[in-house]
Symmetry: C2
Subunit: 402 residues, 2 copies
């Protein structure tokens, strides 16, 4: 009997813990591993042998874990790539020392690169009994091959609800007013586009289409002339034709070489005010609330995240299963939404970005096509029953603080 480790990396989501809960639950149903260890703060903590024992988690704790947002095991932004052979060697020695056969890594692009790098390194060194399995999560929904990523739908649902509700708010006065909602989405417009589920978005700006100042001002002016109100949604990663971000003036660096953005909405507000297009403009940047707002988990999302963890665990009973990511695909040929799990080489997912399809965008920033609605709608279906106390949800005390 050996052990497995599950660790989480990158930005949190509202359902990332459900994948961990699924791995733990699957191992209780079929104890492939003697122990399920939680690695704290991703690879960073695993390299320091910071573990908690999750093996005998009670069903109540498992349920509470599923409704707890953000990474209960802590996260990191440490990227273990092919160049860091010393770290890879250290990690494998730590796995050997602790009798750990499998590392489940729950994360996005960078985490899939870590899974690919470690499995390649192991293969190149003839190590066959240390295995690496990726479980996708990202609110950005920008991983290749998988139909969608656990975490995206709950963020999308919160954004759509917020767009709907703030649209109702901004329209109550007769005076002219523009509202600009900024969403996450460094390179892909999935989250911003999902706001259109509210059916209230007048203008949608995503990174996939170069921002044209004149066209934008024309579209907003037209809408204001018609109804005196205009509801705009913009991705943080919106950019000009030359590739420069609208938020460029406020760009910083997150240590991964990614620009940390914020301020695309502020840029648009400045543009509308300075050109006299409008005199009143409200801006809402949802910041990290959009990725952690677990009180609006999509039942579909949290269920898929849990089952994906189970599927990854079950597949790992095959001792040749390594270097893979478990993904989601829609069952073809049926009307009703349903998904299958499948495995793909992590290598094929790592370091690519799946953009929002430009074919799903209407002209003149007017929103999304019916095909996009059909893609989005089933993902946000359903609301879980939450365990609450004093009117608020009950959450797990983060394992990294226990």
């Amino acid at each position: 009997m050996t052990k497995c480790i599950v660790a989480q990396s990158g930005g949190p989501t509202a359902v990332i813990n459900a994948t961990v809960a699924g791995i733990v639950k699957a191992n209780q149903m079929n104890p492939v591993y003697d122990k399920v260890l939680g690695g704290l703060n991703g690879i960073e903590g695993v390299l320091q042998e910071k573990f908690v024992d999750l093996t005998d988690m009670s069903d109540e704790e498992n349920l509470i874990l599923r409704q707890t947002p953000s990474s209960a095991l802590g996260s990191c932004r440490y990227k273990l790539n092919r160049q860091k052979t010393e770290d890879m060697d250290k990690l494998i020695r730590i796995m050997e020392k602790n009798d750990v056969e499998t590392l489940f890594y729950v994360g996005g692009n960078d985490s899939m690169d870590t899974v690919a790098a470690l499995s390649e390194y192991a293969a190149a060194h003839g190590i066959t009994n240390r295995r690496f399995v990726g479980c996708p999560k990202t609110v950005d929904n920008d991983l290749m091959i998988t139909d969608h990523c656990p975490g995206f739908a709950s963020a999308a649902k919160f954004i759509a609800n917020t767009a709907l509700q703030t649209w109702y708010d901004v329209n109550v006065y007769t005076r002219q007013e523009v509202f600009i909602l900024e969403t996450m989405g460094r390179d892909a417009g999935w989250l911003a586009a999902a706001s259109c589920l509210s059916e209230k978005v007048d203008v949608l700006i995503v990174p996939e289409v170069a921002f044209d100042k004149d066209k934008f001002l024309e579209v907003v002016s037209k809408k204001l002339a018609e109804t005196n109100h205009c509801y705009i949604v913009v991705s943080e990663g919106a950019r000009f034709a030359n590739g420069e971000y609208l938020a460029a003036a406020e760009a910083k660096n997150d240590g991964f070489g990614h620009a940390v953005l914020g301020g695309a909405a502020k840029y648009l507000e400045g543009l509308l005010l300075s050109t006299g297009t409008t005199k009143r403009c409200k801006v809402l940047d949802l910041s990290t609330a959009q990725r952690s707002h677990a009180t609006e988990q999509s039942l579909t999302d949290v269920t898929e995240s849990f089952e994906l963890g189970m599927s990854a665990h079950m597949r790992s009973a095959d001792r040749t299963f390594t270097g893979k990511m478990v993904g989601l695909t829609r069952k073809p040929g049926i009307d009703k939404y349903d998904i299958d799990f499948f495995a793909v080489e992590a290598e094929k997912v790592a370091n690519y970005v799946k953009n929002f399809p430009v074919a799903w965008l209407l002209d003149d920033y007017a929103g999304i096509t019916e095909a996009a609605f059909e893609y989005f709608r089933p993902l946000i279906e359903g609301t879980p029953q939450f365990i609450t106390k004093n009117g608020l949800p009950v959450y797990i005390k983060p394992y990294y603080l226990q």
Copy 2:
């Protein structure tokens, strides 16, 4: 038989429509009025005779109206005070012309002033058959005499959930990080204080206690030294000892002589970064999302808002009932939370502000006392069952757009 008008004023809330739904429902149970008219965009629209007929609303529409955020009848910021005798005269003539006996006005401080001014004007002119009844609503919870205001608890619940969830998010990395959540609250700290229901707030800044820069920096530094993370909540109306708002640099005017604030959190972020207290700081200003986020309605709040509308209608069957606001009081002498409705002179509520009790604040910005927790907790209890379609709540098309 005569008619009544119900109109809404001031900033929207997540449950303001439930009061309208209660008035309509009560009139269906006991048709005191021949018709229930909705006045569009508050007094502004009533003065233009913009009405919709709500009398025969179906039960389904009534249920959907209760879950719809923001003012379905539209709102205004037009203040009808004792100086505007021409408007008051015009309003009473419009009521006479349309055979309207009672105007129910759902709003905050300014609306109660309108109710008081109109009833005084009617009394002074010997007009006994035109009556004016106030129904409180405000997310700010700053109305006198009533124990609390419909609308507050749902905003409080959304803020507490957001504080809880973003606390989970900001703590996942080992790196040092400060998070600052800014809430509404121009003059009173109720909403900011309610964030403490999350039990995660390290530093709470409200308008009721003068902001002391040195003490603040000392408290944050101490917390960072202990845990490397610090969670701060600040009211938009936080101010220095000289009365100047932290957000003063960004102050504008909303036409009522109130400062439109925004930027207290940005001020604190600048202070923390410029003094080197921390290098990483995230800011979230919930803007209008906090007052319109109806997917997190408190069941207690929406029920009380509905019943308050019913109570106001039922009391108005007494043809001497005018110039009053219907309020909420906790039933004394019982352990379990329960409320009674009562009526009070609108005059006693208008133009006063009920501050958050300083006695309920801990020293050194450390949050709120147990007495404050006891006050808040029952208000946020319960989650309504929502009518949904395609994963999102179904809302009424605003009457001002029909």
